[in-house]
């Protein structure tokens, strides 16, 4: 197991995010985390990334706790994409992507040509090949999001935790990003956990789903088993209809 949580309890102040969550992600598995705004999806993801402490339970990355791994070693195993895209200082796209190489460099070494090759390859993967010299702050919101995803890919970790990776992306790049992450999961045996807002993407691109109901309750399991009309209606507080047909390889949920 690349990621394993046992009886993990997480809360923000008085608000419970999940209680006694058991979760395991193997190589190549893709997990969708779904829930309403404010349910604690980002908080849980940051906890899984070792960036904030849990209230209770155990968390293992590649069989080790974050404390045993240490910050630097953890950063070579686990990548985390946050939601913050503020950049107070100017920098080029290539510099931003090269930050992902930091955990692989020793204290005095500079980014090598091979680091630059890795960075340029992921820029091409994110459809940003001709933008490496652009100033990050002159990019559009969606372009900046793709730069951040490229930096995550450049980190080359076996576990990728991405908080709303599709934010600001157009339809084309939403699909392209999900296809790319799925392909990486299959090809390189990477475990992926994504905070998503569209259950249809979860159904189509993820193996398993974790639903946070906002009151500390959760549901987890294979997407086909967990995602149904009643559960999603309860999750979002809005009635949902499931549509199937010969035209759809996957069922489709639409809000009523």
């Amino acid at each position: 197991m690349i990621l394993e949580a046992r009886r993990l309890s997480v809360s923000i102040g008085p608000h419970a995010v999940c209680r006694e969550l058991d979760l395991a992600l193997a190589a190549g598995e893709r997990l969708a985390i779904l829930g309403r705004n404010g349910a604690g999806k980002s908080t849980l993801l940051a906890t899984l990334a070792g960036l904030r402490p849990a209230d209770g339970g155990e968390l293992f990355i590649d069989g080790q706790s974050y404390a045993d791994l240490g910050l630097r070693a953890a950063a070579r195993v686990r990548g985390w994409l946050g939601q913050d895209r503020s950049d107070p200082f100017a920098s080029t796209v290539l510099e931003a992507v090269l930050t992902g190489r930091h955990p692989h460099l020793s204290r005095w070494s500079w980014e090598s040509p091979s680091d630059a090759r890795i960075a340029r390859a992921v820029l091409a993967d994110m459809n940003l090949a001709d933008m490496e010299s652009r100033e990050v702050r002159t990019l559009s919101g969606g372009e900046r999001q793709r730069v951040a995803i490229a930096a995550l890919l450049a980190q080359q970790t076996r576990l990728m935790l991405a908080d709303e990776p599709l934010a600001h992306l157009d339809l084309n790049h939403q699909i392209a990003t999900l296809e790319l992450l799925s392909q990486r999961a299959r090809r390189d045996g990477i475990a992926v956990a994504l905070v998503l807002h569209d259950p249809n993407f979860a159904l189509r691109y993820c193996d398993r789903a974790l639903l946070l109901f906002g009151d500390g309750a959760h549901a987890a399991g294979p997407v086909d088993a967990v995602l149904d009309e009643d559960t999603l209606a309860r999750l979002y507080g809005h009635p949902v209809r499931r549509i199937t047909g010969a035209d759809f390889p996957h069922a489709v949920f639409v809000p009523k």
Partner: protein
């Protein structure tokens, strides 16, 4: 991202600038030599060079502290004085002057005041353990404002004859700097502590959580940076008063010229800040000789147009 070779070239050019500025400072002054070698040697080695070296050390310290504060607060408007260190030093120095202390009294009180402000801001901002950059910035600004009002109070109460000395100190004054060694020592030490963390500072400037996720020990690094920047500021202010502008503008000058990689920015800012202050101080003591102008006024007069020129140039497509 500058390559290593380009970084070395930039640093070499700035080192030449630094040496040239020191040589100029040693050669220029109100006394003209006509063949009197003994007098020339005495003036150069006992007066001008120590003062020029002190100016270099203070400029370097302020530029280093400014660069670090801007990263620590993730705010391009931050400068070495934003968190109240110079305010504390000013209260200390003016109190010493008000009490009529001479010699070591003024720098001693100034350093004590700077340390008190540093600890006060750290204690207050760190109170609940969260230590966000907004909380730190607000605490520092409030402490600086409090110190400012105490300074105004002292100026009001002070006897007439001590006012010029106080005002000179507040505007920055290198004529009291006779021994450059303490400031140079602190400069070397502060640089030696900061440089190994330069790449981690690059990540810190982009965001604390993302830096943490990339393996940077963020809470520890922020404390180290806060202490190093505060001590550098305290040393500079103790040596030469509150010289404005160097700490804000030099890091930006370097950023506009070579980018925001701290591995190059930190040493380049030290060399450029030191050179700028040496040149400004040389101008301050020669332009209206024998009257000496406050060097802080000249750093602003040189810095503002240079900065605006570079800013305008960089915004052109």
């Amino acid at each position: 991202m500058p390559s290593r070779r380009r970084a070395l070239l930039v640093l070499l050019s700035l080192a030449i600038l630094a040496v040239a500025s020191l040589a100029l400072a040693a050669a220029v002054g109100s006394i003209a030599f006509d063949g009197d070698d003994a007098l020339a040697r005495q003036v150069i080695f006992d007066l001008r060079l120590p003062r020029a070296l002190a100016a270099f050390a203070c400029g370097g310290l302020l530029a280093l502290a400014g660069s670090l504060m801007q990263v620590l607060l993730r705010n391009p408007l931050a400068d070495p004085y934003v968190l109240g260190v110079s305010g504390g030093a000013a209260v200390g120095a003016l109190t010493a002057m008000l009490l009529g202390l001479a010699g070591f009294g003024v720098p001693g009180f100034a350093f004590a005041g700077a340390l008190a402000a540093m600890l006060l801001v750290f204690g207050l901002a760190h109170g609940d353990g969260s230590w966000t950059q907004t909380r730190l910035l607000l605490t520092g600004v409030v402490v600086a404002a409090g110190a400012g009002s105490v300074v105004a109070l002292i100026l009001t109460l002070a006897p007439q004859q001590s006012l010029p000395g106080m005002l000179f100190w507040l505007m920055g004054d290198l004529s009291q700097a006779v021994n450059p060694l303490p400031a140079l020592g602190v400069l070397v030490a502060a640089f030696a502590v900061a440089l190994p963390f330069a790449r981690e500072l690059n990540l810190l400037a982009r965001g604390f959580e993302s830096a943490l996720a990339l393996g940077v020990a963020v809470p520890l690094l922020r404390r180290v940076i806060y202490v190093v920047a505060s001590l550098a500021t305290a040393t500079a202010v103790t040596t030469a008063g509150s010289i404005g502008f160097v700490g804000l503008i030099v890091p930006h000058l370097i950023r506009l010229a070579v980018g925001n990689d701290q591995r190059l920015l930190l040493p380049a800012a030290i060399l450029a800040g030191g050179s700028l202050l040496v040149l400004a101080d040389t101008a301050a003591r020669t332009i209206a000789a024998p009257v000496q102008l406050p060097v802080g006024v000249l750093t602003a007069l040189i810095g503002v147009p240079v900065f605006l020129f570079l800013l305008g140039r960089s915004q052109r497509p």
